[in-house]
Symmetry: C2
Subunit: 345 residues, 2 copies
C-alpha cells in the first residue's frame, strides 16, 4: 500500500483531520507510525462508541500501531462519574467490549495495545510534566479545551480541569503520532498541539470521528434509552428502536439510521464482504441490493427507498454488526454485573 492509499484509509469517514499532510509525512518517514484513542470508563458503551471504534480496523489495515487507553483515573476525575471502587471493574468491561468491537469490525484485537491510565499516570515523570503544564495553563484555556468533554457548571470541580491537561499529556506519554477521537475531543487535542512542544514533545496529528445523531433526532443522549442502540440489545430491541427512530422520508440531516449505515454498517460489511439488502415485495419493486452507502442515500433522497422498507433492513444489519459484541458480553455476565452493580447485580 502506498502513502496515498494508507492516508486515505486513515482519513476516510472522518469529521476532520489536522493535518492530512502531517499524516502523509508520517507514512513517508516510517513503516508503523502510532495512533491512540482513549476512553474514560464511565457509563455503558453503545453503538456510538462502536462507530468510532470501527475506524481502528482502518488504522490497523493502514499499518498504524494502535493503542487503546482505558483512562480509568479520568473516569473519576470528571466529577466522579465513576467511583474509585468501580474503576477496575468498569475498565475490565470497557476493555472486553472494545475487544469485541474491534473483532466485530473485522480486525485482530491482538494487534492493539491496551493500556490503563493508572499504569503510567501515577509515575513520577508524568506527574512532573503535568505540574509543569498546570503552572503554564490558565483556567479559561483549560475550561475551553474540555468544554465538550467534561461535565460543565458555573463552579466546576477541579478534577475536570486537570482532566484536560492529563489527556493532552497522554498523547506524549503514550508516544502517539496520531490522536484519534470524536470531534468533541477537538479542544483538548488542539491544546495538546499547542502545549506539548513547550514540554519538548512532538505535536500530534489529529483524526476526529463525527458524533452521530441520536435515533430520536438531535445529539445522541446517554440518559435517553431510546436514542441509541446498546451493545447488549437483542434483535427485537434493535428492531423496536430503529422502527421508532427519526427517519423522515427523503431527509438525510439528523437521520441516525442513515448515519449508522454510513459509518458503521457499510464499512463493516465491506470488511466482511457482505452486501446490504433491502427486502421488498415484488409489487413494490422487489429487493434492493447495495454495495455502497452513497447509493442508499441517493435512493432515499429520490424517494425510491422508503423509510418503511429501509428501517427493518437497517435494524437487521445493525443487529448483525453488533451480534458478536453482544454475545461476548452476554457470555461473561460478570463484566456488566461488576461494572454496574446497581443495574445488573
Amino acid at each position: 500500500m502506498d502513502t496515498a492509499e494508507r492516508t486515505e484509509l486513515v482519513t476516510r469517514f472522518t469529521e476532520e483531520v489536522v493535518e492530512v499532510d502531517e499524516i502523509e509525512a508520517l507514512f513517508e518517514e516510517r513503516e508503523n507510525p502510532t495512533a491512540y484513542i482513549g476512553y474514560a470508563p464511565t457509563g455503558e458503551m453503545h453503538i456510538g462508541h462502536f462507530t468510532t471504534m470501527r475506524k481502528l480496523a482502518d488504522f490497523i489495515d493502514a499499518g498504524l500501531d494502535v493503542t487503546v487507553l482505558v483512562a480509568d483515573l479520568h473516569a473519576h476525575l470528571d466529577d466522579a462519574k465513576s467511583p474509585f471502587e468501580l474503576l477496575e471493574a468498569r475498565s475490565a468491561y470497557y476493555e472486553a467490549a472494545i475487544v469485541g468491537m474491534i473483532e466485530a469490525a473485522g480486525a485482530d484485537p491482538d494487534s492493539v495495545t491496551f493500556v490503563r491510565g493508572t499504569e503510567y499516570q501515577l509515575e513520577e515523570p508524568y506527574t512532573l510534566d503535568l505540574y509543569r503544564m498546570l503552572a503554564e495553563t490558565t483556567l479559561s484555556r483549560a475550561k475551553r479545551a474540555g468544554s465538550e468533554v467534561v461535565r460543565q457548571s458555573e463552579n466546576p470541580k477541579l478534577g475536570g480541569l486537570v482532566y484536560t491537561l492529563m489527556q493532552a499529556l497522554d498523547v506524549a506519554a503514550l508516544d502517539a503520532d496520531i490522536a484519534y477521537g470524536g470531534i468533541d475531543q477537538r479542544g483538548i487535542y488542539m491544546l495538546a498541539r499547542e502545549q506539548l512542544p513547550d514540554s519538548g514533545y512532538d505535536k500530534p496529528a489529529c483524526v476526529f470521528a463525527p458524533l452521530l445523531s441520536g435515533l430520536s433526532g438531535g445529539k445522541m443522549s446517554a440518559s435517553e434509552a431510546s436514542s441509541k442502540v446498546n451493545l447488549t440489545d437483542d434483535d427485537d430491541a434493535v428492531e423496536e428502536k430503529i422502527n421508532g427512530a427519526y427517519c423522515p422520508a427523503g431527509e438525510v440531516e439528523d437521520n441516525g439510521v442513515l448515519e449508522y449505515l454510513r459509518f458503521l454498517v457499510f464499512p463493516v460489511f465491506e470488511e466482511r464482504g457482505e452486501q446490504f439488502v433491502v427486502e421488498r415485495p415484488e409489487e413494490y419493486g422487489g429487493d434492493l441490493v447495495y454495495d455502497d452507502y452513497e447509493a442508499v442515500e441517493e435512493d432515499f433522497v429520490s424517494g425510491e427507498l422508503h423509510p418503511a422498507d429501509l428501517k427493518p433492513a437497517a435494524a437487521a444489519a445493525i443487529s448483525a454488526v453488533i451480534a458478536p459484541v453482544r454475545e461476548q458480553l452476554l457470555d461473561n455476565p460478570e463484566l456488566l454485573e461488576d461494572a454496574y452493580p446497581e443495574k445488573y447485580a
Copy 2:
C-alpha cells in the same frame, strides 16, 4: 513541663489557634506530637519569615517533633514564581537560611526534620490522594482557600488551584498533628480540616502566626525594599531602615518596629538571657532597661519612650538577632548566587 505549660508555649505570640483544646488533647495523649510548617522557595527570605520561624523554638521546647517542608514544587506551581531549573538552588538556600534562623532563635536545628516536596509529592499514594481531592473540590472552594497565598487574577493558572489542595494534603502526607503558618494560610488549612477526614486522615490543629506590618506602614511588601529588613542586611542597612520606619510617637497600630520587638527580639532575647536596653543621655532620664515587651509598649504609649530613642535601640537589637543568620549566608555566598543568579551572580 505539664500540658498547660506546653500548650502555652505552643500558642503564645500567635494570631489564632484552632483549637486550643485539640492541642491540649494532643499533649495529654502523646509525649511528642508533630507539627509542620512549609515554605515555597520563591523570593529571598526576610525578617518576616524569621518572626514566624522563631516560634519553632517554642515548639521544640514544648516537645513537638517539628518538620520544615521546603515546598519546591509549590514554588513553581504558583504562577511559575520559581523556574524549575532554580528549584534545587532555592531550596538549598531556604534550608540554610532556616537552619540559621532556628539556631539564632536559640534552638537546635538538628532537632528539626527537613523535607523537600519532591521527596514525596511525586509518589503514587500522594498523587492518587490528590486526584481524589481534585474530583471532590470545586473551583470556587479552591480559589477561596488560596486567596491570600497564591497569585490571584481573573484568569489564574491551574497550578495555583492545585497548589492549595496539595498543601492541604501535605498535612496528611507529613503526618502532622499541627499545621503551623502565617494567618494568610488559614483558608488552606481550614480546607484541610474539612477535607482530610473524607480521605481517612485526621484533621490537623492549626497555629497561625501574625503577619507583621511593613516598616513603611501597612502590610510588609515583597517588592518594596525599604519595607522590610533582609537577612543579609548589615548593621548600617538595618539602622537606616529602622530610622526611616513608620513609628509615630505613642502609636502602636501598624508599627512594624514595635511588632519586631514583640514577636522577634524579646522572645529571642529571653531565650538568650539578654535584656533590651534603650540608651539615653542622663539629662533625658538615662538608660531604660526592659525585660519584657509589655513594659516597652506601655512607655511608648505614655510618651516616656520617644521614637528617637527607641529606633536606634531597636535597630541594634534586630541586628543582633539576625547577625548569626547573616553571617551564615555571607560565609556561603554560593547559596544566594545559585538561587538568584540574576541578582547575585
